[in-house]
Chain length 481, copies 2
């Protein structure tokens, strides 16, 4: 494809996307596709001869769109949003157009240096400490990862390296190592424990407060002590700011004090909620981070107007991470690396290759400015609070509180049913709601009860969408009752 | 940003990229930027108020471009190319525009199902066996990963699971496990061994043939036997089709026979060269794969006109991989997953979240067709052969043979220097060449000697670029001599 063909087809694609975004409400939120529908509509064999680009666009409408669950639909409330925005999409397009691969500084200095600037900007916007930035004298810094899963894995590898003085990466893991989470921690930490050879069985589930669902530091300390007594090596605690289930906030400072006493790595997973700290009134979510966190991750792609994938991981000390992940094969040796003056981000992540992801975050921050980012977060919190008000006012529903961010959890109250039957009725109602195509919710389970999850955050969601959602939920509740 | 603003700015970006691609030869191939230049040219603080999109584009020209090493420049020969093409860039743009997150089938059926179709298409194009596809009765299948590093890590986790009956992921790794590579294997396998807790010291370096640099199966078998005798558990062998250093091809069939006898997992890393099998005359590179490979990875982003990131990993049996990587938290439970009728790709990769990468590969395959893909590979091989002819004909240079793909390795012959001084002279010459901005080469080391690496593959590279490169190399050789 020549540059001129690219120019022509590129404009067709831009128009297609603009039309898609403008007309997104005409689609059912969750795809109505059945397993195998999309596959069956596509040719079993690749084309022998090239096809015009229009054929791809036609199949996009005919085959792909019916199989799409519309994450940018204003009534998409199921998961923390994949928070796309125009400037971020265009930043990503610029990244694809430049086509650079930033595995080391030398393979495109701008890819690395713009990233160091943008993660510093974000640290400043969120009020994170200077030792997480590349400021003069800092031993830490930030990096863009594909997801909070990878960030947790990198943090765990750094923690293992620090605990074992580099031995795990070199000689292999030996002895039993333990990791501490709560029942509300994201499954990514267990997955990281499986991947690193620690094993799922060595992930300890620390008790939570039954109301707030926040991790209990005293139980954490007791579990660590028991593991030490049993001969294990405790390695890392993951504290969560804004859990996936209900956006519970673990007490980072108290957990951090335990970590410091016991010599464990504190990873703070603020994947969804961390970006809320752009607003001064939400800055409390950083309590304890500056004093105690060894690593901290948040996802602009969840709630900061940046399309997936964009997780920022900061570390207070990059040495153990680089020690765990660095290998320098001959073909990557270069003067800049050997000078020690540059960052080679390949040593900050699992893979060697890396895209120029900083462009999309840079583009989003510049287009919206700090002001615009704050307005987006505030809008999500206010809309969620408004919806929660509907739930609270209706005695047929139970609201889960607190709900400090954009997520509202609640459940319908059924009469005359035992817990299992209640859960089944709630899940059946959820299924009917999602099948309707009018909105898309998800669920979680707390103390054995299924709760519905309604997550606000798509930039185009307005009050009318939440009011319509509430109407639909009440209708579904009343309908089969 | 509204859809109409997106439409307007999107077209500006498309024009910017088209102009960039049309004028790319005006830039020095390797950035002339010094450490800190880009960072220093950017504001230390994020903007308080939003800025017009034109400001981003202006800074792209002013700040970013000087810090870019131009991977799409026709004289970029340093690394296996980041093989961008117009249709792939636009496929990626469509992915960003749709903004879906395909962690499970239900979060966008088309994201999963188009991927199953496209990886099947690619398997057919490359002549890979049916048990790597989703054909009826197959226990295997393919998945798009970000890079061959991740693919190797997933393969290793699956191998550990199979060797340990699921114990490593559950109870943690215990005992000593060993992995087998050659001195030419990509460092990603050692990195995977570090990450999984096997440890770098348990990666055995199998001897290679001193001329072809291909792994010696007899030495592999002897090393496995010695490890078993010493009480270790051998887990995986990585055979490479087209090594990074010199595109050596390991004897997959003979290595596979050893793996089968000894019960090891055979992972075939064909990251760069695997896609050459689109050409029937290159199909020999698949010898032994159908009979013996448990997993196979190749990167359309290296040489098949698809922009980074796009690695395809196929497995013959998906069960151990899914067993190693699957966790099902409550918020991801859904009817489709529980039906067992769908693929949930989150269990095929390290992270939970995933982009809709299939669109770019689909778009590239459809635009070029099998014919166009073959023409691209053949052009790369022919251009490399032509350049190798120049080297072979000049007695002042030594050509490394064979060079079956698009990479040519060679070295200048210096007179009156010992090996260290020769290497230093070659590296100094490389530095001067790259500093010139006229072309970009890299290097490797074979038997203690530095070789220059010239990798052909950028779609716009023509014979004149290689002739110019050869002229420049001879001038540099003659200049300081």
């Amino acid at each position: 494809m020549t540059p001129e063909e690219f120019r022509a087809h590129g404009k067709q694609v831009v128009d297609w996307i603009a039309d898609y975004l403008a007309g997104i409400e005409a689609h059912p939120v969750r795809s109505q596709s059945a397993p195998g529908d999309v596959r069956a509509a596509l040719p079993a064999h690749p084309p022998e001869r090239g096809e015009p680009f229009e054929a791809v666009l036609a199949d996009l409408d005919r085959v792909v769109l019916p199989g799409i669950t519309h994450w940018q639909h204003p009534s998409f409330f199921a998961y923390f949003p994949a928070n796309a925005s125009g400037p971020a999409i265009l930043g990503d397009l610029l990244s694809s157009g430049l086509g650079v691969q930033g595995m080391v500084w030398a393979t495109s200095p701008a890819c690395t240096e713009l990233e160091t600037v943008v993660v510093d900007w974000l640290a400043e916007l969120l009020g994170l400490p200077a030792h997480f930035t590349f400021a003069e004298g800092s031993a830490g810094g930030g990096v863009i990862q594909d997801s909070a899963s990878s960030a947790a894995l990198v943090a765990l590898l750094a923690a293992l390296d620090r605990a074992g003085g580099g031995v795990p990466a070199a000689a292999g893991l030996s002895g039993r190592h333990t990791v501490y989470v709560s029942s509300q921690t994201h499954s990514a930490v267990e997955k990281a424990a499986r991947i690193t050879g620690i094993g799922a069985e060595n992930v300890r589930i620390v008790d939570v407060d039954p109301h707030t669902l926040a991790m209990l530091p005293a139980d954490l300390d007791a579990k660590i002590a028991a593991d030490i007594a049993a001969g294990a090596t405790p390695v890392l605690v993951c504290a969560t700011v804004g859990t996936t289930g209900t956006t519970a906030v673990d007490p980072v400072a108290d957990i951090g004090a335990v970590c410091r006493d016991r010599g464990l790595w504190l990873h703070v997973d603020a994947a969804y909620a961390g970006v809320a700290a752009v607003c001064p009134e939400m800055r409390w979510i950083n309590d304890g981070v500056a004093e105690f966190a060894d690593s901290y991750a948040t996802n602009p792609h969840k709630w900061l107007l940046t399309n997936f994938d964009c997780t920022v991981l900061w570390v207070a000390d990059r040495a153990p991470m680089v020690d765990a992940l660095s290998i320098l094969p001959e073909f990557l040796r270069n003067t800049a690396t050997e000078s020690g003056e540059v960052i080679d981000y390949r040593d900050w992540q699992i893979s060697l290759g890396r895209r120029f992801r900083a462009l999309k975050l840079w583009s989003a921050i510049r287009w919206y400015g700090a002001e615009g980012l704050r307005a987006h977060i505030r809008s999500g919190i206010a809309l969620a609070a408004g919806f929660a008000g509907h739930v609270r006012a209706d005695e047929r529903f139970l609201l889960h509180e607190p709900h400090p961010f954009g997520l509202v959890c609640f459940r319908p109250l059924w009469t005359g049913l035992d817990v299992d039957a209640e859960n089944a009725a709630t899940l059946a109602m959820l299924e009917r709601l999602n099948d309707s195509g009018a909105l898309y919710l998800s669920h979680t389970k707390v103390s054995g009860r299924v709760l519905l999850r309604l997550a606000v955050g798509v930039p185009t969601t307005r009050r009318e969408h939440l009011d319509a959602a509430w109407d639909r939920i009440r209708e579904e509740y009343e309908g089969p009752a």
